[in-house]
Amino acid sequence: MLVLSRRVGESVVVGDDVTITVLEVRGDVVRVGIDAPRSVRVHRAELLAELAASNTESASPSEDAVASLNEELTRALRKRS
């Protein structure tokens, strides 16, 4: 990992068109501004980790789970209509 020290107002440039600027440092919170083309998706790392965990937990439920969910769902929807 490349480690750089930056002051407020200073930036780093990643590749040709991504600029990350330190905007404010207050206690243990650092605000950064990210200037990137729209094609570069920027997300908080923990959100991606949360989505990966959610997808992994949701993946490939057992046949039993699918069958009982299907059954309960059919019953619940029939009751509604």
């Binding site: 094609s39 998706r41 989505l51 959610s54 997808n55 969910l69 059919t74 929807l77």
Partner: protein, 140 residues
């Protein structure tokens, strides 16, 4: 921005051929091709079955039946990647996490899978709205 509909045109799921993800789902970096199969007669619950990994599948539902006001806004970049030009082309699917029972079963409202029904290109779209939880009760 493209506002999406929550209703699914009847019978549309049966016609879908191979769905190609334009970028992988978080946690599944090398999985790109899926088929969508209805799991019941009503077509409410469907399986998104991986063609790359034989055992991998996700349960998905259309939001309309359960969260009728849900109308995710798809960012321009994703709309372009999927070739979406109107909301009628977009099929929105929610990934289901099957719990022990129906009450503990959740859906991911934060990152719906959006399919262009004309081209079958799809992506799991990460929405900006923090109000949408990755684990919202299916029966909200």
């Amino acid at each position: 921005m493209i506002a999406t509909m929550t209703e699914t045109p009847a019978g549309v799921q049966q016609q879908l051929p191979v769905i190609e993800l334009v970028r992988p789902m978080p946690g599944f970096p090398d999985t790109h091709r899926f088929t969508l199969e209805p799991l019941d007669d009503t077509g409410v619950l469907s399986a998104l079955r991986s063609l790359d990994h034989a055992d991998l599948k996700f349960l998905v539902v259309s939001p309309g039946t359960f969260h009728p006001t849900y109308a995710p806004e798809i960012d321009d970049e994703t709309a372009a990647a999927l070739g979406l030009t109107s909301s009628e082309q977009a099929l929105v699917l929610l990934v289901v996490h099957a719990g022990r029972d129906l009450a503990s079963t959740t859906v991911n409202l934060r990152a719906p899978i959006v399919v262009n029904i004309e081209t079958s290109r799809a992506a799991q779209v990460i929405l900006d709205e923090v109000a949408h939880s990755v684990a919202t009760p299916l029966l909200g």
